[in-house]
């Protein structure tokens, strides 16, 4: 993933709402004023402060934050629905704040799809016409755009509903149409603004899985906004945690759970189950720190998660598993390491060091 092409490159982007935003940004960078100070002293609201992130081709990037953290503002800066106060957003290497109206329209129409929390299906149009909307405004002939829209609807499992109107569909189905509309124009990047937040938990989980599968299958990149850490972990390849307009940590779910950047993130991840998040390579200790014979130990994969490791270790009589990569033993996971892993602690201590 690291080596893949960067599709969105967001470099120190700021959005401060209010007339004195330039002064406010200066005050934040120079004096480190808080969001509340800025509102009091400058009458400005800090939406996004100094956000930098990169989204690679084929990656699902989740931005997690509570309401008011600036995540909706941030995602709108990526396709310039909101103008940044400062900073640069490059989409496929092009600075979108320097584009003229026509170039910006083209970029939005061809490269960046967007799905909204409110779905925003046009009530006067049927499902097919809604899914074809993006292509219609690009001036694609009717037959061609209907074919593309029907194909996109088939991908989200709505082939039988093309002639129905949005009001006849359930919330989950409406959001599938929203996704089909974004996919129909075949953009490389899809911006998802809390798309599943208004759905009930069962449907939400189903759509999360389908969305991830579909995105990976089609090789799309996505920026996915959510206020639900579980959702971010389920969907995202990488997760950014946002608070008061700033990205306070960016990393894989495992990184964030194992090494929270600060107390805020630590509190957030405290309730998250580690069983499926943490992999053998994160809890293993070097072979030299294991004082028994390694050759007799059962083998496991470095990408196996704790849940799988526990299952494997309880089925055998061994006290530990040897982590094997490319035919070579790279580390050992003991029962003690697994227990630490469940608590979110890495296996850095040598076995029985304090004993």
């Amino acid at each position: 993933m690291e080596n893949a092409e960067v599709l969105i490159d967001c470099q120190s982007v700021w959005k401060v709402f209010g007339e004195r935003n330039a002064e406010a940004i200066e005050a934040i960078t120079a004096q480190g004023l808080s969001k509340r100070d800025i509102l009091r002293d400058f009458g400005c609201v800090v939406g996004v402060s100094d956000a930098s992130l990169q989204v690679h081709r084929g990656e699902i990037f989740c931005i997690m934050g509570l309401s008011g953290s600036g995540k909706s503002t941030l995602i709108r800066l990526l396709n310039r629905l909101i103008e940044p106060s400062l900073g640069t957003v490059l989409v496929k290497g092009q600075d979108i704040s320097k584009m003229d109206a026509a170039a910006l329209r083209r970029t939005r129409a061809e490269h960046i799809g967007m799905v909204f929390q409110s779905v925003a299906l046009l009530p006067q149009r049927n499902v097919l016409e809604n899914a074809a909307f993006g292509l219609e405004v690009q001036g694609i002939p009717r037959n061609e755009r209907n074919r593309a829209a029907a194909a996109a609807l088939a991908k989200v499992g709505l082939s039988d509903w093309t002639k129905h109107y949005p009001s006849e569909l359930s919330g989950g189905m409406q959001q599938r149409v929203g996704l089909a509309r974004a996919l129909a124009a075949d953009p490389e990047i899809i911006l998802m603004d809390e798309p599943f937040s208004a759905l009930d938990p069962l449907i939400r989980r189903q759509l999360q899985d389908e969305f991830r599968q579909l995105t990976k299958e089609l090789g799309k990149s996505a920026v996915f906004i959510t206020h639900d850490l579980d959702e971010a972990i389920r969907i995202g390849d990488r997760i950014a945690i946002m608070k008061d307009g700033a990205l306070i940590q960016v990393g894989t779910a495992e990184d964030i759970v194992m090494n929270p950047a600060d107390q805020y993130v630590a509190d957030f991840v405290a309730g998250i189950s580690r069983l499926h998040l943490i992999k053998a390579h994160s809890v293993m200790v070097p072979v030299v720190d294991w004082d028994g014979p390694v050759d007799d130990l059962p083998r496991c994969d470095p990408e196996a998660d704790i849940d799988a490791l526990i299952a494997q270790i309880t089925e055998t009589s061994a006290d530990a598993l040897a982590v094997q990569e490319d035919g070579r033993v790279v580390g050992v996971v003991s029962v003690r390491n697994l227990l630490l892993g469940v608590r979110g602690e890495a296996g850095t201590d040598p076995i029985g060091a304090e004993a």
Partner: protein, 275 residues
């Protein structure tokens, strides 16, 4: 103070005299245009037999509302014929139709512009408030001074009274597009034109239709009042009946007005709801 008021009144009078003296050709042209439109519409309505008009409106009501309202509409119009008021009813219909066409031809574009440009909307609002708070027959006075006695005056005054609701509701409909759909348009890369025709206008249609319906109702009210200035039609029948205390005729004419108003109101209302 009194002097000031007197001089103000004299000024207004002078302006009106000046206009009648110097801009007569303009108002004559307006008069011919208005009467020409009215005569054309009236000719079409009168030269068709009464049952044809009743059937056409009945069919319209059937398509737009339902079978029973359709039958009631046709029967009610036949009743206007039976009361011996067919010609007057058609004159009133022609006045309302002609006035509404002119009023909408002006107020829909103006309303759309006001919806797109909030500044224009703010500038227009006091004028519309003024038009709507003044007693409607006020508009007959300058009209009669400039256009003379007859249907042209009635039309001019009716157009003025009928415009405000259509302007207001059109502007409101265009302005109040839900924010998420504006974002959808932007994110989909629409042009300004596409934003208007594919997003703003479809959402505004119910409000615009309600405005058309309101304008029509205002036009009806004014057309009856305009009987005083010799508009012809049911308004003049009622005005004449009141002066001679001919209660029976005034009640018949009132019934015909109610019939016509209800028919057009229900048909345009259901057109608004259908969207």
């Amino acid at each position: 103070m009194e002097d000031f008021v007197d001089s103000f009144d004299r000024q207004v009078d002078d302006i009106l005299y000046w206009l009648t003296d110097n801009a007569a050709f303009l108002f004559d042209a307006a008069r011919y245009a208005l009467e020409g439109l009215y005569d054309g519409v009236l000719w079409a309505l009168i030269s068709a037999p009464f049952y044809a008009v009743a059937v056409v409106l009945g069919l319209a009501a059937w398509r737009m509302i339902g079978l029973v309202p359709g039958i009631v509409t046709a029967l009610a119009l036949a009743a206007c014929y039976a009361m011996g008021l067919w010609a007057e009813t058609m004159e009133t219909l022609a006045l309302v139709f002609a006035a509404s066409v002119i009023a909408l031809a002006i107020s829909l574009p103006v309303g759309i512009l006001a919806g797109l440009f909030p500044r224009l909307d703010r500038a227009l609002m006091p004028t519309l408030d003024l038009i709507q708070t003044m007693p409607p027959y006020i508009y007959l006075l300058p009209a009669i001074a400039l256009l003379g006695y007859g249907p042209a005056t009635a039309l001019a005054a009716t157009v003025i009274v009928a415009m405000p609701p259509a302007i207001r509701l059109t502007s409101l409909g265009i302005r109040e597009t839900p924010h998420e759909f504006i974002e959808l348009g932007q994110a989909s890369g629409v042009t300004t034109r596409q934003m208007f025709f594919k997003i703003r206008l479809p959402f505004a249609v119910p409000s615009i239709m309600a405005g058309i319906n309101q304008s029509l109702m205002m036009a009806f009210g004014m057309v009856v009042i305009a009987g005083i200035v010799g508009s012809g039609g049911l308004g003049e029948t009622i005005y004449g009946a009141i002066r001679t205390l001919d209660i029976a005729t005034s009640i018949n004419a009132s019934i015909a007005i109610v019939v016509l108003t209800m028919v057009l109101d229900r048909i345009t209302q259901s057109a608004a709801r259908k969207r």
